[in-house]
């Protein structure tokens, strides 16, 4: 320290300790309502009535409907009737198609889960209870709209007609794996089906979706992009980049937060869900923000269609929080009974998306228990057949797998000398 310092003006701030200040009381660490052994409790979740949320015009300024970030857009009421301004005009065939896709997704999840347990692959991850989030979105989008999913939107691929056998071959890293055995199970990619390569790094693709959407606008296309992120992953920087850039450039993108209440063992309060809704993040950057009953396929469809129309009409992006619930463990590596009451899934107040759409169809008079049972059985048979076929091309650890030398391909467009040499060193 030099002398001759700043002695002329008095320091304005009070010196430490001069005044009696209160002591801080410690850190607040959020805790869920119930841990294993306790009764599950969702009393904190306020559930507005179906049909109550208003539906703004797509060209309304987002500042005019900020309350929708705190509301909950619901179409199906307790009885399965579609009510309110968000009720979409979907015919019965479309709806039973959607139901079939949800059933197929669930059957697929169940079968692949068992395949992992039987040692046929290394890992699996289900979307049980969240099927409406992906199937409802697929219904509202064009196949040429590029989806940037997380690992829990297998319903998109199934809805878009991607062959189940191909999906399974990826799971098994077998000889017909479209990704040549390079990716962990469930990290699908199908450009043809508008399904962007899943990374496994949380969040990174949310911001890439904005770039893709910007390219759509740049090229004057008529297609848009959609992205999904978990409640937990919203804390990543990429989430913030996505929102900021979508807002600044009016990118034609639909940014979906899938709030399934859990991020592995952390409840949504650890990501900030006790302070406000995740949809409110959109208000933070001035994006339109909708909070949607994610177990209500009609609501998911309606909100997505609204956002898609907005994007296509050059009005920019939309943030949607899909409120849902992860009924099963995070993945086959997880045991949820260690951190939440085992019966928590049963008391989740938004119910099961399949049951809810079924009730609606029954109410419309186009569906009944028998048809439902038949559809479930058909899906199971179908999945079983596909799985037999996929297994005939190999399972993980079997001899049927992509050629070993292919592991050096596609690192670069053209293989440089050092990779050629390494391939040689491996003796192939």
């Amino acid at each position: 320290m030099t002398d001759g310092g700043n002695d002329l003006p008095e320091p304005v701030a009070r010196a430490p300790g001069e005044t009696a200040l209160p002591s801080l009381a410690g850190l607040r660490i959020p805790e869920p309502q119930a841990r294993p052994g306790a009764a599950p409790d969702f009393s904190g979740l306020v559930l507005p009535h179906a049909g109550a949320a208003r539906r703004p015009a797509v060209d309304d300024h987002p500042g005019l409907f900020r309350e929708l970030a705190y509301d909950l857009i619901r179409v199906l009421d307790e009885e399965g009737t579609a009510v309110g301004p968000w009720t979409p005009a979907l015919d019965a065939a479309t709806l039973t198609g959607a139901l079939t896709h949800m059933l197929m997704t669930r059957a697929y999840d169940n079968r692949m889960y068992r395949a992992q347990r039987a040692g046929k692959t290394s890992f699996y991850l289900k979307s049980t209870g969240e099927e409406a989030v992906s199937v409802g979105a697929a219904l509202a989008l064009e196949t040429a709209d590029m989806c940037f999913p997380t690992y829990r939107q297998q319903g998109l691929l199934i809805s878009r007609g991607y062959p189940l056998v191909d999906m399974m071959c990826q799971i098994y890293s077998n000889a017909r794996d479209p990704l040549k055995g390079r990716q962990m199970p469930v990290m699908y990619s199908s450009r043809e089906h508008g399904f962007f390569s899943i990374s496994g790094n949380l969040g990174t693709q949310f911001s890439q979706a904005v770039g893709w959407a910007m390219a759509c606008a740049y090229k004057r296309e008529n297609h848009i992009a959609a992205a999904w992120i978990g409640d937990g992953a919203t804390a990543e920087g990429d989430f913030h980049y996505a929102l900021t850039m979508a807002a600044v450039y009016h990118a034609p993108v639909i940014l979906n937060i899938v709030n399934n209440q859990w991020a592995i063992s952390s409840f949504q309060g650890i990501a900030g869900g006790l302070e406000t809704t995740f949809a409110a993040r959109g208000i933070g950057v001035g994006l339109p923000a909708l909070r949607v009953d994610g177990n209500d396929l009609l609501a998911v469809y309606a909100a997505t269609a609204w956002a898609a129309e907005r994007a296509r009409r050059n009005l920019g992006g939309t943030l949607i929080e899909m409120v849902t619930y992860r009924r099963e463990g995070h993945s086959t590596s997880d045991d949820p009974s260690r951190y939440r009451p085992v019966d928590e899934p049963d008391v989740w107040p938004l119910g099961d998306p399949i049951e809810r759409l079924k009730r609606h169809l029954v109410r419309l008079g186009v569906w009944d228990d028998a048809r439902h049972a038949a559809a479930v059985a058909t899906a199971e048979v179908y999945v079983k057949q596909a799985s037999g076929q996929a297994e005939s091309f190999g399972t993980l650890g079997s001899d049927q797998r992509p050629s070993v030398s292919s592991m050096f391909d596609d690192v670069y467009a053209e293989m440089p000398w050092h990779l050629r040499k390494q391939r040689q060193d491996l003796g192939i």
Partner: protein, 339 residues
Amino acid sequence: MTTMNMVKALNSALDVMMERDPNVLTFGEDVGYFGGVFRVTEGLQARYGRERCFDTPIAEGGIVAAAIGMGAHGLRPVVEIQFADYIYPAFDQIVSEAARLRYRSAGQFNAPITIRSPYGGGIFGGQVHSQSPEGLFTHVAGLKTVVPSNPYDAKGLLISAIEDDDPVIFLEPKRLYNGPFDGHHDRAVRAWAGRAEAEVPDGYYRVPLGKAAIVRAGEAVTVLAYGTMVHVAMAAAEEAQIDAEIIDLRTLIPLDIETIEASVRRTGRCVIVHEATRTSGFGAELIALVQEHCFYHLEAPIERVTGWDTPYPHAFEWEYFPGPARVIQALRRVMGDAT
């Protein structure tokens, strides 16, 4: 003394330090109530309370930033990055902030933080649960990088890391958590129990940073390895009956150059083994140092056995993983035995 696997040993290190020093705390994704996806922090929240062991938002950059702020204010945070593959969102905070804080503030502030993270392959984790990023951190002045290879070292090194006043990147070979692994994936899984390195004192002890261990003495060739590869190198030497001296580096930065130099000067030959991608991996630095320090003693080119310069491919785990067969080939080449 208790028999511990590596998970238990690491847990014990945290327990000992949290008990001794109220400024030690630990946090990260799933670290609190659940005790971490690999169970390293199990029981700590119950024992020390939520404020000392807690879950964080999924924001690796935020986790490290918070640790830096706390560290500068006198705490000793130990943070967990769930997989080393997910450390990159925190790269800026580690490289630009933690590593430079002491220097740029001329010692007014420092970041006595420990960043723990499971690294490496062998569990069919594919490209984002298998990486070995240690080489990147060794390029950054101001960081220390530590990689244990057994329970005893894991505990002693973690205690040293927590007590260290500099930021330490502490990489845990996840394939060794529950047992030693020498690359023979087709053999029965082994446990730590029954091995000397799994006899771990219950209380406080340190394994110093910056000191390597000669885990096998030999005269014919020096093998430099760390983490999982120590076990692979041991298996290779035994199986090929080569009189290799195997050095477990334990700390990459600061490196124990004396032990390395003394060995290579004696053997005249050197093989380096790491699981990370080859180009610009830490093996390159080791080659540079060995040839700088021992050039006139070298009788053959130094060899590297490493992961390939590709992402870690799910179906080709064992073609990627540098197992004993590849190490033996390299040893033979360096000894002039084979092509």
